[in-house]
């Protein structure tokens, strides 16, 4: 005799260790199986876009730190680059190199945090997270050296940086670059062939190539689905065209592939960093930019490849010192567009693995 079942609603969050911030997942379940999902946002909405329109361009830089707060350096870069385009400000060579160095360090730091939390969600409580934070800490220390901050750096300025790198920065960075590949090997030894990880991630939460493109997924989520699309290569900015690196992609678009793409991206970041450190020129770190910036009336959409994907800024200037429109193109929000398709048919425990592999930060989703 078949057992009659009744579907029911389960709310996960807004306060839950696996929701990566204040985020609510409203699930419809048939037993343990997810039949429908609705993501509910807004618990962290601070109205950053509106606030930014009421302040000067310079005063808006700290707002960008508070979007994806695990990727503050790249957020800074995306924003100042958009304003530089709008106002026609050129950036000195040395500053461009430093930007590449900081962006790639930030990518590694963000991936380390993302992977640590992902494994935590899989049930590998704390141990891998602490291993990953061990290396992230060294990057945070480097950021602390140059900006004086550990999380919200506010270090980029229109035309360059607030100050040059301190003397101790490069030796510490070189030391880190010598040891980092070994540590990535260590994570792989622990995780990549781990039987439990394989069973819980291979073939789980597949995002097909067509849907990944159609739902505007970006970054590792898009590339894990077999799409070779990286802004650093497809629409190069800063001085990325001078470096040799590969764009890691995978074919299956499952949870394992999203993990693996990030591991391989970290190795490529180390590769870029080595080249940038070797070629880093002496010179100015600040181009010519007025103290009170009033870009000519116009608009710009400018984007970079952030750790979580395409991070863009759409700015409209009306010729005053405040932006008329200030819009963030948030990769974290758009990577959630296909979440429902990825989780329907899987069980609640798989949801945590799938959701963790998307690597979102609510500061950017809610803004």
């Amino acid at each position: 005799m078949a057992i009659k079942t009744e579907s029911f609603i389960l709310n996960i969050g807004p306060q839950h260790p696996s929701t990566h911030g204040v985020f609510r997942l409203r699930l419809i379940l048939d037993g343990e199986v997810i039949t429908d999902l609705e993501p509910v946002f807004g618990y962290l909405h601070r109205g950053i876009e509106k606030l930014a329109e009421g302040r000067t361009y310079l005063q808006d830089i700290p707002f960008t730190d508070r979007l994806d707060y695990l990727g503050s350096m790249t957020n800074n870069h995306a924003y100042v680059m958009a304003v530089e385009k709008l106002a026609g400000i050129t950036v000195p060579e040395r500053a461009e190199y430093i930007r590449v160095i900081l962006d790639e360090l930030q990518r590694i730091a963000s991936h380390l945090a993302g992977l640590g939390f992902f494994l935590n969600d899989l049930g590998a409580l704390q141990t891998p997270l602490l291993y990953m934070f061990r290396e992230r800490e060294k990057i945070v220390e480097l950021f602390d050296m140059c900006s004086g901050q550990r999380l919200n750096y506010n270090y980029y300025r229109f035309g360059g940086f607030v100050q040059d790198l301190p003397e101790e920065f490069l030796p510490a960075l070189k030391k880190l670059l010598d040891t980092l590949p070994g540590f990535i090997d260590e994570y792989e030894q622990l995780i990549s062939t781990n039987e439990i990880v394989l069973i819980r991630t291979k073939g789980v939460g597949v995002l097909k190539r067509e849907l990944a493109i159609n739902s505007s997924a970006a970054g590792p989520v898009l590339r894990a689905s077999g799409v070779n699309w990286d802004i650093r290569r497809n629409d190069p900015y800063s001085i990325y065209d001078r470096f040799e690196f590969d764009i890691p992609t995978a074919q299956n678009g499952d949870t394992y592939d999203r993990y693996m793409v990030r591991i391989r991206e970290m190795r490529q970041s180390v590769r870029i960093l080595r080249q940038a450190v070797k070629d880093l020129p002496e010179g100015e770190i600040m181009g010519k930019a007025p103290k009170l910036l009033k870009p000519p009336a116009g608009e710009v959409y400018s984007r970079i490849e952030g750790p979580k994907g395409e991070l863009g800024f759409y700015l409209v200037s009306d010729g005053t010192d405040k932006p008329y429109r200030w819009r963030v193109r948030p990769p974290c929000l758009l990577n959630l567009s296909a979440l429902k398709d990825m989780v329907v048919g899987w069980k609640v425990a798989d949801l945590m693995a799938i959701f963790g592999s998307i690597d979102i930060v609510m500061g950017e989703v809610d803004r």
Partner: protein, 148 residues
């Protein structure tokens, strides 16, 4: 390097393929009427342009109209373009949803609805995304009083 499409050429192609549609080609974007936007998007996503990736969808509030801005990319051709439309009825702004063309529009249209009050017809679940139901007004409109 992503190549930006030639808007004059695009206008000529669109006028040929979709007769009866009014379209303007500006220096950095293509401007269509709100009632035509769905047709235009369908054409853009099909071959040969294949604008399959909706990079960014947003709005801006101007005194005369609310502007809806589409930043589009073709992953296959590595091309980019900007499409705009202007909603002049600011008391009741509405246009067709493009979620059936790009799933990536779903959350961004909800965002525009939430913050600008633009209604997207045939959206699969149009409701506020950041603010709560019952919140009065649309904060990203310029006339929204917020203490600034």
């Amino acid at each position: 390097m992503t190549a930006v499409l030639d808007y004059q050429q695009l206008k000529a192609d669109l006028s040929k393929e979709l007769p009866g549609i009014e379209i303007q080609a500006e220096s950095s974007f293509l401007l269509a009427l709100p009632e035509d936007i769905h047709h235009v998007c369908q054409y853009l996503v099909s071959r040969p342009l294949q604008m399959d990736y909706l990079t960014n969808l947003t709005a801006a509030d101007y005194p005369e109209y609310i502007e809806i801005i589409f930043h589009l990319n073709s992953i296959v051709n590595n091309t980019a373009m900007t499409l705009k439309t202007r909603l002049t009825d600011k008391t009741n702004p509405k246009m067709a949803s493009v979620v059936d063309i790009w799933r990536g529009a779903e959350l961004q249209e909800r965002e525009i609805y939430d913050l600008f009050g633009v209604v997207f017809e045939n959206h699969i679940g149009l409701k506020r995304i950041f603010l709560w139901e019952g919140f009065e007004g649309y904060p990203l409109r310029k006339d929204f009083a917020n203490g600034h």
